[in-house]
């Protein structure tokens, strides 16, 4: 535009505000989600070959393996929490002209998450 002053956003725009940084980290967690899902698929794919399996588990059963898993767990937790916290934004329920408390919506989702995780854990550990 003629004679207007245009302020372009730098590539480091996401470092300017805490909210932007948190957003970027949240987005980054999807990488972890995808990566670990692929990892699990590989594990399942190789499940019938105990040989390659044990090598894999040996590699993972180490300080590095544990740290990696801790990081992945933190990322997945952050991903899940921010995702569930978003659900009341999408699902707005009304009782007459009062809004149903958003925490109930999120709470129901947390409950579902916990239950599903518990069921899965039981299946895996048994």
């Amino acid at each position: 535009m003629d004679r207007h002053y245009v302020r372009k956003l730098p590539a480091t725009w996401w470092l300017r505000k805490r909210t932007y940084l948190v957003f970027m980290l949240r987005e980054l967690t999807s990488v972890f989600v995808v990566a670990y899902a692929l990892f699990l698929m590989v594990v399942i794919w190789r499940a019938d070959d105990p040989g390659s399996f044990s090598g894999l588990f040996d590699a993972l059963d180490s300080p590095v393996g544990l740290v990696l898993h801790a990081i992945v767990l933190a990322a997945l937790l952050f991903h899940s929490i921010t995702w569930i916290n978003l659900t009341p934004k999408v699902l707005v329920l009304w009782r007459d002209d009062e809004q149903v408390d958003p925490r109930l919506i999120a709470g129901a989702n947390y409950l579902g998450w916990v239950v599903a995780s518990a069921v899965l854990a039981w299946l895996v550990l048994k």
Binding site: H4, Y5, V6, W13, K89, V92, E98
Partner: protein, 253 residues
């Protein structure tokens, strides 16, 4: 409001104000002003004091000074704020940095160019398209308090543009339709009297519409009227996605 401190009232308020005079300069600069402190001044009062008593060449938009007209949005210490609702004592005695709203071209000083928004807004068809039109003689469309409540929040937008200043998607891509316009589209979609959701779909679900939003959520955080545009957009995503799935599963309806 922060408690008064008689020590503070003796100290001048320091304002670092973004200046840009296109008729004379090609680059902007900051100008520092020091003005008397008054306990219940808002930043807009301080700017008006500068204009009336110190420097009449400072240009900024304002009108109602009570937070309904949406004119006086500016960056205050890096955050988009309505300067008529932002108190000087929130910052004093620290210097206050005033800049034009981010993500908009600067026309002069604190005046931004918002023609982009004004051109984009009509494309989402932000007007009522009655589902069952009837003549005036038959009276008002009935709408229960509950039905009104579902869209009320999204109707409170004063078009102040703070959300656009907070939205990094808009900052990176000014073709993004943006929070206020999309929230207004959703306001009409949710209005029980309206039947225009499908007609708005073309633009609202386009490349530049709701799907460009990545739910950063900063728009909702800065909105001075608690419109929650981020919420409106996410609701619109679910709503239009559901419609699409239905249309795929049930051909013909």
């Amino acid at each position: 409001m922060a408690p008064t401190d008689s020590d503070l009232s003796g100290r001048p308020v320091v304002m670092d104000v973004f200046r840009f005079l296109p008729d004379e300069e090609t680059e902007p600069r900051f100008q520092r002003y020091e003005i008397p402190y008054r306990d219940d001044d808002v930043v807009l009062d301080a700017l008006n004091h500068i204009k009336a008593e110190v420097d009449a060449t400072l240009s900024f938009r304002w009108a109602c000074r009570m937070g309904v007209c949406g004119s006086c949005g500016m960056m205050v210490n890096g955050e988009p704020r309505l300067t008529c609702e932002t108190f000087v004592n929130e910052f004093h005695p620290e210097p206050i940095r005033i800049e034009p709203l981010a993500h908009f071209p600067v026309a002069r000083d604190l005046v931004i160019n918002m023609e982009n928004f004004m051109d984009t807004l009509p494309t989402v068809k932000p007007w009522l398209m009655p589902a069952d039109p009837k003549p005036i003689e038959e009276g008002e469309f009935l709408q229960s308090p509950g039905e009104l409540a579902t869209y009320k929040r999204f109707s409170m937008c004063i078009n102040c543009m703070l959300c656009y200043s907070a939205c990094p998607v808009y900052g990176l891509d000014e073709t993004f339709i943006g929070p206020a316009a999309l929230a207004l589209a959703q306001r009409y979609n949710l209005d029980s009297r309206d039947g225009g959701k499908a007609e708005r779909a073309n633009v609202v679900t386009s490349h530049e519409g709701i799907w460009e939003c990545t739910y950063v959520g900063d728009c909702t955080r800065v909105c001075p009227k608690e419109v929650d545009p981020a919420g409106a957009i996410q609701m619109a995503k679910l709503s239009y996605a559901t419609d699409w799935v239905k249309s795929m599963l049930l051909p013909g309806g």
